[in-house]
C-alpha cells in the first residue's frame, strides 16, 4: 500500500509540475515537451487505477501522435518570441491576479468536500472488453456523435486548406484511351528539297 501511495504522489506531482511547465516555459518547444511529460505521468496514474488500456492509448495517441504533431507545428511556425515575451509582461499582473484568486477559491471549496469514490472495477472482465462493451452498448449514441465531430474536423480542415492547382498536369486515362490514330498522327507530304 505504501508503495502505491508513494507512486501515486510521485506521478501526481510530476503531472502538476509538467503542467506548470507547459504554461510557464519561455520556449514553445519546451512547452510541448512538458506536455508530453504531463501525458506520460497521467498515463502512470491510469495504470495505478488498473486502467492499463487507457494508459496505453494515452501514450500511443496523445504522446505519440498529438504531442509530436504539436511539436512539428510549433517548430514550423515562425513565432516572434521577443514580441510574445513583451506581451506576456504586459498581461502578467492581471493574469496572475485572476489565477491566484481562482486557485484560492478552488482550494477553499475543495478543502471541505469530498468527491465520489472512483468506482472500483468489480467485474472480472479485462479492460479492453469492459470499455468495448460500454462504448458499443450504453454509450453508442455519444460514440456515434463523437465520430461525426471527427468527420466535421476532417471536412473542415480539407475545405479550408485545399487549393485547386490550375497548372497541375493530371493523367486522364479515359482521354488517353479515347485517343485514336487520327487524332495523334498527322501525315504530311513534304516536297523534296523544301523540308527545313
Amino acid at each position: 500500500m505504501m508503495v502505491a501511495e508513494f507512486v501515486f504522489y510521485l506521478f501526481a506531482a510530476l503531472t502538476v509540475l509538467s503542467a506548470l511547465g507547459v504554461v510557464g516555459s519561455r520556449n514553445p518547444v519546451h512547452s510541448v515537451l512538458s506536455l508530453v511529460l504531463a501525458f506520460f505521468s497521467t498515463a502512470g496514474l491510469f495504470v495505478l487505477m488498473g486502467a492499463e488500456f487507457l494508459a496505453a492509448i494515452l501514450v500511443m495517441v496523445y504522446m505519440g501522435a498529438v504531442a509530436i504533431l504539436f511539436l512539428f507545428v510549433v517548430m514550423m511556425l515562425d513565432v516572434d518570441f521577443a514580441q510574445l515575451r513583451r506581451e506576456r509582461v504586459r498581461y502578467l499582473p492581471l493574469g496572475l491576479a485572476v489565477g491566484v484568486v481562482m486557485l484560492v477559491e478552488l482550494g477553499l471549496m475543495l478543502g471541505h468536500h469530498h468527491l465520489v469514490e472512483p468506482p472500483v472495477a468489480a467485474v472480472a472482465v479485462d479492460n479492453t472488453l469492459a470499455i468495448g462493451q460500454a462504448l458499443f452498448t450504453r454509450y453508442i449514441y455519444p460514440f456515434e456523435v463523437a465520430s461525426l465531430i471527427l468527420l466535421v474536423a476532417l471536412v473542415g480542415a480539407v475545405a479550408l486548406t485545399h487549393r485547386e492547382r490550375k497548372r497541375l498536369h493530371r493523367q486522364e486515362i479515359s482521354q488517353q484511351l479515347a485517343r485514336t490514330r487520327e487524332d495523334a498522327v498527322e501525315l504530311r507530304k513534304v516536297a523534296s528539297g523544301e523540308g527545313a
Binding site: V116, Q133, P142, G156, A159, L160
Partner: protein, 482 residues
C-alpha cells in the same frame, strides 16, 4: 447489457438521422460533381431541412431513448423547428451571395447541416456527456464556417478568434461538468437532479462551482455579456450568410439547453444561479445598448443588438416561471424573424461589396423607397416600437418579470431598450434624412425577396395578432412543470 440494447428507438430521432445521412450524401455528391454540383447541393439542403421541419411538425408526445440520453418533447420540437428555420432562411437567401463572391459552396452546406445537427443534439440531450458532444459538433462547424472565405483576412481572423475563445469556453463547460460528475458520480440529467434533491446535494459548494462553470461556458455560446468579446469581431469578419446562421441557430440551441438544465436539473441551486443570470441579463442589455451607439459597421451593430436581445431573453430565464419560459420562446421566434429580415436587406446589398458600413445606406429612401421602408420596419421592430412584433416580445418578457416580483429587472430592461432604440433609429435617420452619395445598385434575389417579405408579414402579424404565436409556444412551455 442486452436489455440496454433494447432501449433504442431510432424512429424518435428521425430528424437527426435525416440530417446526418443527408449531410454525408451531400458530402459525397459535392466531391463527385466537383464545382458544378453546388446548385444541386444547395437545393437538396433546402429540401432536407424542409423535410426535417415536416417530420418535427408531425411528432407529438414526450419520449426518451438510449437510456435517457436522447429526449424529445414539445419543447425540444419547437426549438428544433426554430433552428431549422434559422438555417433554411439564410441558405435560401445566399445562393446569389455564393455566385457573387465566387465561393465554392458544396461542402459549405454540408458543414452547415452538421452545425444544425449539433444544435438538435444539444436541444434533445438528456445528459451532460451528450450535451457537451452536441456543443462541440455545433461549435466546430461554426468555426469552419466563419473562416470559409479563407482568402479574406477578416474571415480568417474571425474563424481563428472564434476557435480559440470557443475552445476556452468548451474547456470551462467541461470543467463544470467534471465538477458535477465528481460530486454526483452521474452525467445524466435525471440522476444529477435526483442527487441535488437529496440532502447531500443541498448547499454543496462544489456543485455550485460546477453550475457556475457551466453557466460561463453556455454564456459564451450565446454571447452574454462578460463573455461577449468575440461576437462583434466574428460577426463582422464571417461571410454574411454565416453571420445570419450564427446570430440565430447557436442562440436557440444554447438558450434551450440553459432553460432545461437551470429549470429541471439545477432546481436546488436556484438561489445561486438566479443572481448570476440576473447579472448576465443586466450587463448584456447594458453593453448591447451602449456599445451599439458608436458602431459604424452594420454587422457589428447587429452583433451588439443580438447581445442585448440575449439580455432580454435572460430576464425570462431568471423568472423561473412558465410565463417567463413562454416569454423566451416568443422572443426567440420574433428575434429570428426580425434578424432574417434585416440580414435579407443587407445581403441584397452585399453583392456589390456595399452594405457593410452604415454610411452605405445614406439616402436609401430617396432611391429605393420600398427597401428603405422595409429596413426601417425591422429596425423599429428591434427597437421594440408598437405595433410591431419586437414590442410583443419585450412586453411578454417584462410582464413575466413583473409577475415574478422582479420589477427592478423589468425597469432596467425598459430603460436599456430606450437607450438601444437610439442606434436602431440612427439607421433609419441615415436612410431617410441623409442625402445619397452616388447611386445604388441593388438587386434582390428571388430567395431574398421571399424571406424578407415573409419576415415583414410576420413582423406585422405578430405585432398586431400575437395569438397564434402564443398558442404555439404554449405547448412547448407545458414541459416545464412549476
Amino acid at each position: 447489457m442486452a436489455e440496454e440494447l433494447l432501449d433504442i428507438h431510432l424512429t424518435l430521432m428521425m430528424p437527426e438521422i435525416l440530417v446526418a445521412v443527408m449531410a454525408m450524401v451531400l458530402l459525397l455528391l459535392s466531391a463527385w460533381t466537383h464545382r458544378g454540383g453546388t446548385g444541386v447541393v444547395h437545393w437538396l439542403t433546402i429540401l432536407t431541412i424542409g423535410a426535417v421541419i415536416l417530420v418535427l411538425q408531425a411528432g407529438e408526445g414526450a419520449a426518451a431513448t438510449f437510456a435517457g440520453q436522447f429526449v424529445i418533447d414539445d419543447f425540444a420540437r419547437y426549438m428544433k423547428i426554430l433552428m431549422c428555420l434559422g438555417m433554411i432562411f439564410p441558405i435560401i437567401m445566399s445562393l446569389d451571395y455564393f455566385r457573387g463572391h465566387a465561393m465554392d459552396g458544396g461542402e459549405y452546406h454540408v458543414v452547415a447541416l452538421f452545425a444544425l445537427l449539433g444544435g438538435m443534439i444539444m436541444v434533445s440531450s438528456g445528459g451532460f456527456l451528450i450535451l457537451y458532444l452536441g456543443v462541440e459538433l455545433m461549435s466546430l462547424s461554426f468555426y469552419v464556417l466563419a473562416a470559409w472565405r479563407r482568402d479574406d483576412v477578416q474571415s480568417g481572423e474571425a474563424g481563428l478568434k472564434y476557435f480559440i475563445l470557443g475552445s476556452v469556453a468548451s474547456g470551462l463547460l467541461l470543467y463544470g461538468i467534471s465538477m458535477i460528475y465528481g460530486v454526483t458520480g452521474a452525467v445524466s440529467f435525471r440522476e444529477v437532479a435526483a442527487f441535488m434533491g437529496s440532502p447531500a446535494g443541498h448547499a454543496n459548494q462544489l456543485l455550485s462551482l460546477g453550475v457556475v462553470m457551466i453557466l460561463a461556458g453556455m454564456g459564451f455560446k450565446v454571447a452574454a455579456v462578460p463573455f461577449h468579446m468575440w461576437a462583434p469581431d466574428v460577426y463582422q469578419g464571417a461571410p454574411t450568410p454565416v453571420t445570419v446562421f450564427m446570430s440565430v441557430m447557436p442562440k436557440v440551441a444554447s438558450i434551450a439547453v440553459l432553460l432545461r438544465i437551470l429549470m429541471e436539473v439545477f432546481v436546488v441551486q436556484h438561489a445561486q444561479w438566479v443572481p448570476i443570470v440576473q447579472l448576465f441579463a443586466v450587463l448584456s442589455m447594458g453593453v448591447g445598448a451602449f456599445a451599439g451607439l458608436v458602431q459604424t459597421n452594420i454587422k457589428r451593430l447587429l452583433a451588439y443588438s443580438s447581445i442585448s436581445h440575449v439580455g432580454y431573453m435572460f430576464i425570462g430565464l431568471v423568472t423561473n416561471t412558465q410565463a417567463g419560459v413562454q416569454g423566451v420562446l416568443v422572443y426567440l421566434t420574433i428575434y429570428l424573424v426580425m434578424t432574417m429580415g434585416a440580414f435579407g436587406i443587407i445581403l441584397s446589398f452585399d453583392r456589390q461589396g456595399l452594405g457593410e458600413k452604415i454610411s452605405d445606406y445614406q439616402g436609401l429612401a430617396h432611391k429605393q423607397p420600398l427597401m428603405a421602408f422595409v429596413m426601417a420596419m425591422f429596425m423599429f421592430s428591434m427597437a421594440g416600437i408598437p405595433p410591431l412584433a419586437g414590442f410583443i416580445g419585450k412586453l411578454n418578457i417584462f410582464m413575466a418579470a413583473v409577475k415574478a416580483d422582479m420589477v427592478p429587472l423589468a425597469v432596467a430592461g425598459v430603460l436599456f431598450s430606450a437607450i438601444g432604440a437610439y442606434y436602431y433609429l440612427r439607421v433609419v435617420k441615415v436612410m431617410y434624412f441623409d442625402l445619397p452619395e452616388g447611386s445604388f445598385k441593388v438587386s434582390v434575389s428571388g430567395g431574398g425577396f421571399l424571406i424578407v417579405t415573409l419576415s415583414l408579414f410576420l413582423t406585422f402579424l405578430w405585432g398586431i395578432l400575437p395569438g397564434d404565436l402564443l398558442a404555439w409556444t404554449g405547448a412547448g412551455v407545458m414541459v416545464f412543470h412549476h
